[in-house]
């Protein structure tokens, strides 16, 4: 018990003195996850809008696959990315394994289905509102998608934040493809796993606090966005 207490005090000090390791790891986490989030959003949001406005034959199947992919265990995603990026794999020549890029790739694969699925749910609703109006006005397919993305932007931001929350807290895939290399691919979650294993509770707890703070901030943002949406402000 005293171990834990002491660890918390030290963790607090690491935080207020902006310990250089802690800051470095936090910044890398943010860099990897934000990059993954931007790439994933660019893929997932238009995809969600397209799935809402277009009736093509494979639409239902696509949505089902998307929802199934959402439940994919991250470690398995990590394994697959590992196989593809490893030296003998198809993309081995690029030497991406154990780099932040590999981690970004894994995170993108993990959160694209999540963001697309959440975004699709709200855009589908918006489209059923807009359907008659936009068709009556002769909006082209692209204009319909633009209208949905613009007028649904709050809901889309919520979807993106959910993706961020999932990515920043993910450890399995990141560990497999990143390798948790000091000063190279070590991020909040993998560092916590390592320091806990080593018995360095101070560092582990300090990193944990940062992660918790990020998670709370994201959830508050989602809550606030949902609130303003219901209020009809945007």
């Amino acid at each position: 018990m005293s171990d834990l207490l002491e660890g918390m005090v030290q963790a607090f000090w690491l935080l207020v003195t902006l310990d250089s390791d802690l800051v470095e790891i936090t910044l890398r986490s943010l860099q990897v996850t934000l990059t993954a989030l931007i790439i994933a959003s660019v893929i997932a949001l238009p995809m969600a809008a397209l799935l809402s406005v277009r009736r093509f034959r494979m639409r239902r199947a696509t949505i089902a696959v998307l929802n199934a992919l959402m439940g994919l265990p991250p470690v398995v995603v990590g394994l697959i990315v590992y196989v593809f990026l490893s030296r003998s794999g198809p993309f081995g020549v690029f030497g991406l394994l154990f780099t932040p890029t590999a981690m970004i790739i894994a995170q993108v694969i993990i959160i694209v289905p999540l963001i697309a699925s959440i975004a699709h749910q709200s855009l589908r609703e918006l489209w059923s509102d807009y359907h008659d109006l936009l068709i009556s006005m002769n909006a082209t397919q692209v204009q319909r998608i633009q209208a949905l993305l613009w007028d649904g932007r709050r809901a889309l931001l919520t979807a993106a934040l959910a993706g961020f929350g999932r990515a920043i807290g993910e450890v399995g895939a990141i560990m497999v493809v990143g390798g948790n290399i000091d000063h190279a691919t070590r991020v909040l979650t993998t560092a916590i796993a390592l320091e806990t294993g080593k018995g360095d509770f101070a560092m582990a707890l300090g990193l944990g606090f940062v992660l918790i703070a990020l998670a709370i901030a994201v959830n508050l943002a989602i809550h606030w966005l949902g609130h303003t949406e219901r209020e009809g402000r945007w």
């Binding site: 918006l126 008659d132 009556s136 002769n138 209208a147 613009w150 007028d151 009809g232 402000r233 945007w234």
Partner: protein
């Protein structure tokens, strides 16, 4: 620009879930005047208007404009029975059809502001359209439909939840549009309004066109007993 009319429907039919909602209908609309569509609730007025506008898929028959289908589509607009408010400001809602047609945003918003003033929403430009009252929404929808200066305008009970004054405002706007050559095809449950605006009357019953005659003749004495009963406010069999 080619003439859009006559609009000819032959055996036009709309069926949903195995039930015939409208049709089969034979109808020819000429390019002049205002057509008022009346009939009891559930008769098929909305379905008929949407079918003529081309946003309700037909299950049989044909519908032909005087010009090419795409061109006709571009030159008409529709005001829905329950107006759709896009989740943007009042001015952006009204400007939207212009922007779709390629007008620059600034120009579109300026025209939209003019229209907002005409429907006495001039001081609500930047308010979210989703916060407007039912009557204000209907007025917005009308301005949004007229801003592209359509040659044909379908209106589905555009004054349903408006007070007397707003109804007159709308009617004035509609009369002016009609005077400028816009072809109006409009449903209403307000017989006073029907008499004020109609050049010809379409009486719809059970999804069929029961009577189609010049307004003066229709209101002087309909040919069928059902139309007579409807005008008297009796139950229509």
């Amino acid at each position: 620009m080619r003439e859009m009319f006559p609009l000819v429907a032959k055996d036009a039919l709309v069926r949903r879930n195995g039930r015939v909602l409208v049709g089969p209908i034979d109808l020819q609309l000429e390019g002049k005047g205002t057509t008022i569509v009346i009939g009891p609730n559930g008769a098929g007025k909305t379905t008929l208007l949407k079918m003529l506008h081309g946003i309700m898929r037909m299950n049989g028959g044909s519908l032909d404009w005087g010009c090419a289908r795409e061109e006709a589509q571009r030159r008409q607009a529709f005001v829905f029975q329950s107006p759709v408010m896009m989740r943007r400001s009042v001015v952006d809602n009204i400007a939207y059809p212009l922007q779709l047609a390629g007008t620059a945003r600034k120009d579109a918003r300026a025209q939209a502001a003019d229209w907002a003033a005409r429907i006495s929403l001039g001081d609500a430009l930047d308010r979210p359209a989703t916060r407007l009252s039912g009557g204000e929404r209907q007025k917005l929808a009308l301005a949004r439909a007229l801003i592209r200066k359509p040659d044909v305008l379908f209106l589905d009970e555009p004054c349903a939840s408006l007070d007397g004054r707003a109804t007159r405002e709308i009617e004035d706007i509609l009369k002016q549009a009609a005077a400028e050559g816009t072809r109006l095809i409009m449903s209403t449950h307000n017989m006073g309004q029907a008499q004020r605006l109609a050049d010809e009357v379409l009486f719809v019953l059970h999804g069929r066109i029961h009577e189609f005659s010049p307004a003066a003749a229709f209101f002087a004495g309909p040919q069928t007993s059902q139309a007579q009963a409807f005008l008297n406010g009796d139950i229509v069999e």
